[in-house]
């Protein structure tokens, strides 16, 4: 194959790509926190809220899951300021664009996140909660101390999937001009008129993979810690 390849360029592009890391981490963490809280509230409402609230939350999750991310991005970037201005007379047009990215991603993340939590919660044996209540723990305590840690064991791999997907959502930020590591890579390639694209993408992939390995490592530790006392499904 007559494809030019300049291995040193991989190295050369790394510093500039890394200058986008701050943005990536900001929207990743921001979304995990806000989207996670939203998802948690949605789960709670769906499992033990009053009927009307359950219906609302169910539709919310339903619609969000149907929404393509680019559509959500534009709804938030254009619709939300209009809405806030029209209804509450609050002007958020001057906000840092990163906030819009975080809001859009949080909404998108909250729905699958809530489904992950719901399925994990339902998978914990009923008697675990009952036993906790019977020794005088309140519902909240029973949930936090007994049910949640067990539910997390089965939620973690799915949350891991979601976090990693989220981290790679830079393309979405790029559409409104927020440049994360992926965006940096694309800027470099554009400046080179497409030259050294493979080298640049290799650098990008390596950086993403390293970040993924870090996330996976953290999840593995959490999983090992939380699954204490659990007997893995292994045939004798």
């Amino acid at each position: 194959m007559n494809r030019p390849f300049d291995i040193t360029y991989i190295w050369k592009s790394v510093p500039e790509i890394l200058s986008g890391l701050g943005v990536t981490l900001q929207f990743l963490i921001g979304t995990i926190v806000i989207g996670g809280i939203l998802g948690f509230l949605a789960t709670w409402a769906r499992l033990s809220g009053p009927k009307w609230l359950r219906a609302i939350v169910h539709s919310y999750i339903w619609i969000i899951r149907c929404t393509p991310s680019i559509v959500m991005m534009f709804l938030v970037f254009y619709g939300l300021p209009e809405l806030l201005l029209g209804v509450f007379d609050i002007d958020i047009n001057s906000w840092n664009r990163l906030y819009f990215v975080i809001i859009a991603l949080s909404l998108l993340f909250s729905a699958p996140c809530s489904e992950i939590m719901r399925s994990a919660y339902l998978a914990v044996a009923k008697v675990q909660r009952e036993a906790a209540l019977s020794i005088g723990l309140t519902e909240a305590q029973a949930f936090r101390r007994i049910v949640l840690p067990q539910a997390l064991v089965s939620a973690l791999p799915n949350l891991g999937n979601s976090f990693i997907l989220l981290m790679k959502e830079g393309a979405l930020a790029y559409t409104i001009g927020i440049v994360d590591i992926m965006g940096k890579g694309q800027l470099i390639i554009a400046r080179n008129f497409g030259g050294y694209s493979i080298e640049t993408y290799i650098a990008l992939a390596a950086i993403y993979w390293l970040l993924t390995l870090a996330i996976e490592k953290a999840f593995k530790l959490a999983e090992d810690k939380l699954s204490a006392g659990k007997q893995p499904l292994r045939a004798a």
């Binding site: 992950i116 399925s119 999937n161």
Partner: protein
């Protein structure tokens, strides 16, 4: 800013033609991925030495690298490589004539396998070990024990996450346009480019995805209800207690055969 409804209608009709492609791009990779993902999940769960290790690296690599990079490799580099191979074998096969949708299938399948393997792994965590043991003890083979007892129970916890993944996949198939595959997003974008009717195009895309994703969600919701019947315990009615059909059938036949020994 106004939305041109007539134009929305026009694009909608054009976009409908892309639905089969979008569905193919979703369900073919999904169906191929299911068994592989499950095998990886089992291998990792049961810690089967080399297999578990290799799958772990695979999952991490595929999840960890941007889809666009995988598309670059699969769509841009892979055919060139294949071409060199075919040539070196002296074959006369037109590698570049291959419909790029196949590369799209490969990329999406590889990704779906990685994602679903984690979904299944977590689902298997929810099944009590004793369920497997009980199945083995009445003489089911491990394969049967998994398929009849463990998997149905694991699927209850897996369904909402399978739904998440399917819906995500459905939406991310729009990336196939990078490989010149004409799915619904591709058609809408091409239409939009001419008159810059992006608002209308995105509205149409939104509508179509709402319909498609809703169908997927309905399917998985019904599936979850069906699979978790045993957990909620279906409401006991007089009928289910007194005369479940199969039981009645057997009783009747016994009666007619004159061997009704139990009344």
């Amino acid at each position: 800013m106004t939305i041109d409804l007539a134009y929305v209608q026009e694009i909608l009709f054009l976009v409908l033609k892309g639905i089969p492609t979008t569905l193919r791009l979703t369900f073919i990779p999904l169906l191929i991925a299911l068994p592989f993902a499950f095998l990886i999940a089992v291998a990792r769960q049961r810690n089967i030495k080399i297999l578990a290790r290799v799958s772990q690296i695979y999952v991490s690599f595929i999840r960890g690298t941007p889809l666009i990079v995988q598309i670059l490799v699969m769509y841009s580099l892979f055919p060139s490589l294949l071409n060199v191979l075919v040539r070196s074998q002296g074959l006369d096969y037109d590698v570049f004539g291959i419909n790029p949708i196949y590369y799209a299938y490969i990329v999406f399948t590889l990704n779906t396998i990685a994602i679903l393997s984690e979904v299944f792994r977590s689902a298997l965590e929810t099944v009590d070990k004793r369920q497997l043991e009980a199945a083995l003890s009445i003489g089911l083979l491990p394969v049967q024990a998994y398929s009849r007892i463990v998997i149905p129970q694991a699927l209850v916890a897996a369904t909402p996450n399978l739904c998440n993944s399917t819906v995500n996949l459905l939406k991310s198939t729009s990336l196939a346009f990078l490989m010149s595959v004409q799915d619904i997003t591709a058609i809408a974008k091409t239409e939009a480019a001419f008159g810059y009717n992006y608002l209308e195009s995105y509205l149409v895309i939104f509508i179509v995805y709402i319909v498609l994703c809703s169908l997927v969600q309905v399917f998985f919701q019904l599936l979850e209800q069906r699979l978790s019947l045993y957990k909620r315990g279906r409401t006991v009615t007089k009928k289910t207690v007194m005369e479940p059909e199969y039981y009645e059938d057997v009783r009747k036949e016994r009666y007619h055969a004159g061997i009704e020994e139990y009344s």
